[in-house]
Structures are given as C-alpha cells and as structure tokens.
C-alpha cells in the first residue's frame, strides 16, 4: 500500500492488473502498474504467507483494483484487509476453496465443504 502511494506520486497512475502466483511454499501477489505520461511500466511482486495469505487493499490509490482484488481473493483464498465490500466475483458458490491454488484437486465438490 505504501509502495503504491509512493509510485502513484511518481506518476504511475494506471493499474493494469492484479494477479497472484502460488509457489506452494509462499504466494505472490503481482501488481502491474503503468505511467500513462511517461509510458513506463512497473511490476510489483509481494511475497505472502502460504498458510494465511493477506494483503492490504489498494483500492484507495487505484479504484481499478476493485474487481481484480475480488478475483484474487476468490481464486487464491487471499484475504484483502481494510476492504469494505466482501462480495465474491462469481456469486453462485460459497468460496470455501481456492481453486487456483496448487493444493486444489480436480473434481472437488465445493457444496460438501460448507
């Protein structure tokens, strides 16, 4: 969050993408941030704990982060701190598992996990 505020003050005003990578022993949140005037791109990679991954929201700096953070928290089970809306992106399930984590096995019935 601090880094993002810092970057924004240096002209990096356009958030392109937030995603995450599961390296099994740790997780990584990836922020692709762009400077629309200087035409420069920065990639921020934030290391997260594998057990209880959590990261602070950047929605205050980049409003574009809204849906990306929802997607990331739903697919990777990453908790987004200081976020008002907790609604998931794909509504039709309860979000009990993190399907994009490497620990997910094919065919898990999420309805039984309630």
């Amino acid at each position: 969050m601090k880094t993002c505020t810092n970057l924004k003050s240096r002209g990096y005003d356009y958030l392109k993408k937030i995603t995450a990578v599961d390296y099994v022993d740790h997780l990584e949140a990836v922020y692709i941030i762009y400077n629309t005037l200087g035409k420069k791109e920065e990639v921020l990679r934030v290391k997260l704990d594998a057990e209880k991954p959590k990261v602070e929201t950047v929605i205050g700096v980049y409003p574009a982060a809204d849906w990306y953070e929802r997607e990331m928290s739903e697919m990777f089970g990453i908790e987004i701190l200081k976020r008002k809306s907790k609604r998931l992106l794909l509504e039709e399930w309860n979000g009990a598992i993190a399907p994009f984590r490497k620990s997910y096995t094919w065919g898990t019935d999420y309805k039984k996990l309630e």
Binding site: K16, V21, I32, A64, E91, P99
Partner: protein, 364 residues
C-alpha cells in the same frame, strides 16, 4: 418515489455471453448498477496449467470469440518470449495484416450490434455483417478456419500464405475503405443515433485512468495510449498511423474512436503488405516445443481490438506453471456502475453497448 430494484438477466444483452445486471431505479433515473458475472467461467487459466504449451491456443480463442486471432497471437508471442524464439520477417508482416483484419472484423460486428440498439435497426447491422463475412472469408483462405483459426505457431504461422494473399488483401482493403466511408453518413446523420449517444455515459480523463479503462474506452476519454505505439512490436514502429482519441469521453466518442480505428487499420494493412517479401512464414512444428532456457516470468502486452491484453506467465518446462490473462473487457465491464449511475434507464444499454464486451473474456 420509492427505489425499485430491477433484475435484468441472466441474458445476452446487446452483447455476447451471459450477464446479469441488478439495477436500482428511482423513477427513470439509475441509482445503482451491479453487474453479476461468472456464468461463463471455465477456469481457463487453471486449465492451461495442465496442458502443453501449444495445446492452449484453442482455449484462448474461445475467450473472445469475436477476435480469436488476437488472443491466439498474444499467447503464442508470450511462449516465443519464454523460449527466446525469433519470428520470421514475412511471418511478422503476415501476422500484422491478419491482426488488423481481425480488428476490423471485431469493430464491424460491434458497430452492427451497437447501431441495432441505437434505433438504426438492421441496416448497418446487415451492411456490417456483409463486410465482416468478406473479412472472415479472407482469413479462412489464409488460415483454414472461418471463426477459430489456431494458425499462429512459434516462430511463424501454421501454413504458407496462399499465392494471391497480397492481391486479395489489397482488393479487400479497397472494398472495405469504400463501404466503411459510406457508413458515416447513415450513422451520423441519423438524429436518433446522435441524440442517444452524444453526452451519454461520460467518462472524464481522470476517471478513465483511475478506474483503469482499456482500449477505445480509454482513448475516447482523451488518453493517447496504444500498445502498438507505446511498446511497438513486429513492424508497427515502421508504420505510419495515428491513434484516434476523443475529448468528451461519451458514447459517441467511443463509437468515433472505433470508426477511425477501422480506417487506420486499412492504412496499416496497405503499408504492411508493401513490406511482404516472400512466403517464408511456416513456424516450428508443435512437437518441437520442449524444455529450453526458462526465464522467471514473462510479461507481454498486445493491443487487442478491445484494449490492451496482457499475459503474465511463470513458465515451466512443458507447460506454464501459472498463467494470468489481463482481459480488457473485464476491466471495462467494471466501469459500468461508474458510467451508468445517475443517467436514465433507457441510456443503460447505449452505455453498456459502447464498452464492447465479450463475456467469455470477462469470466475466463
């Protein structure tokens, strides 16, 4: 008057794929819009982790089935970057020609369906589809597939270009230029179209950047940002073309930006065809792709018809360890609440249509 909640969908509203909108209205004014997505979610990113590199392009083509070639090319180019493979000169030119034709086909389909919603019932729609089918026929002769091509291979293309590739392309450019010029009068002299688009769904320059609008939506708000210019790839740095921008950021500007983009694409194709020297375009056979020197991560962006698409890939030996796709339609759809709140209910679909969304790409 009490606020009424209207549920729209899940349907195919003025676009492609299934979407549900929950709209709160006070009389005729929209108080709140909430898009509900996920009806087409197939977990493509996860599926691709289990497939060999060159098994994936056919998945990607089903994301944005209006412009499949663009996603195909973006993905294969990121595999090329991971492998450190060079693309043959003629193949670069051929790719640019096909990508620009794909852009025209995408914008034509958008224009047809958009004018349909704007009260220009079926005239432009039929015309745009007539032109689009010529473009698809050209792409079919070149690649072998009408809608889904799976034609890009590492280092080049799947098959050599047909003998009359350049002549056909020139002929098609002349045809399209004449026909597209004819649309302008019919659309812009229609008072219904103008009344329903001018000043509707305005997006200021600051908001467009903050909310991360992509592609024509961003450019219509006055930001000159195009990956073909800011991070030129292939032969785009040798080609002379302009990036159209609007200044009001309304629905009309988003139409106009796409309209000019089609004309610019024709200009690009003509210049690119002049650079085509021979027919040495065939890339590596699929089975040859195996373990090579692998970088940590691969980040690649391309200007897709709908905006800037990005592949962020963590490559592994035979298949990607993790692949993440930035879809321009996804971020443009998230703008809908921002654009529609405070406008009239009847303006919801002009605004929605002007974003040019394919739900297959939004949900992935």
């Amino acid at each position: 008057m009490a606020v009424m909640r209207i549920n729209i969908g899940p349907v195919h509203p003025s676009t492609h794929g299934v979407l549900r909108l929950v709209v709160d209205v006070d009389g005729d004014m929209i108080k709140r819009v909430e898009p509900h997505i996920g009806f087409l979610h197939r977990g493509v990113e996860k599926l691709m982790e289990t497939r060999m590199y060159m098994q994936s392009p056919s998945y990607l083509e089903k994301l944005d089935y209006i412009s499949p070639l663009s996603w195909d090319e973006l993905y294969v180019a990121s595999v090329e970057k991971a492998l450190g493979a060079e693309v043959k000169q003629d193949a670069q030119v051929a790719r640019v020609v096909m990508l620009e034709f794909q852009r025209i086909a995408n914008h034509l389909l958008w224009l047809g369906t958009f004018c349909n919603d704007m009260g220009n019932l079926f005239t432009i729609f039929m015309w745009a589809f007539r032109e689009r089918s010529k473009v698809l026929k050209f792409l079919e002769e070149t690649t072998g597939g009408r809608m889904f091509y799976v034609n890009i291979r590492v280092g080049g293309l799947n098959r050599p270009l047909p003998a009359n590739f350049a002549d056909e392309a020139h002929g098609l450019c002349d045809y399209l230029e004449e026909k597209i010029a004819g649309y302008g009068d019919l659309i812009e002299k229609s008072s219904i179209f103008m009344e329903r688009t001018k000043g509707v769904g305005r997006l200021s320059k600051a908001d467009a950047v903050a909310y991360g609008a992509a592609g024509p939506v961003l450019r219509a708000s006055g930001i000159e940002e195009d990956a073909r210019k800011s991070k030129p790839y292939y032969i785009y740095d040798k080609i002379d073309f302009i990036v159209p921008t609007g200044y009001r950021g309304d629905t009309y500007d988003r139409y106009k930006v796409r309209y000019i983009e089609m004309q610019q694409s024709i200009k690009i194709i003509r210049q690119a065809l002049g650079m085509l020297k021979g027919n040495d375009v065939v890339g590596a056979p699929i089975r040859l792709i195996g373990p090579q020197a692998k970088p940590d991560t691969v980040l690649l962006s391309r200007e897709l018809p709908k905006g800037e698409g990005i592949v962020y890939m963590v490559p592994d030996k035979q298949r990607p360890y993790r692949i993440s796709l930035r879809s321009p339609a996804f971020i443009n759809l998230s703008l809908l609440p921002k654009l529609a709140e405070g406008s009239k209910f009847a303006d919801l679909f002009p605004i929605f249509g002007s974003l040019d969304i394919v739900l297959g790409e939004v949900d992935r």
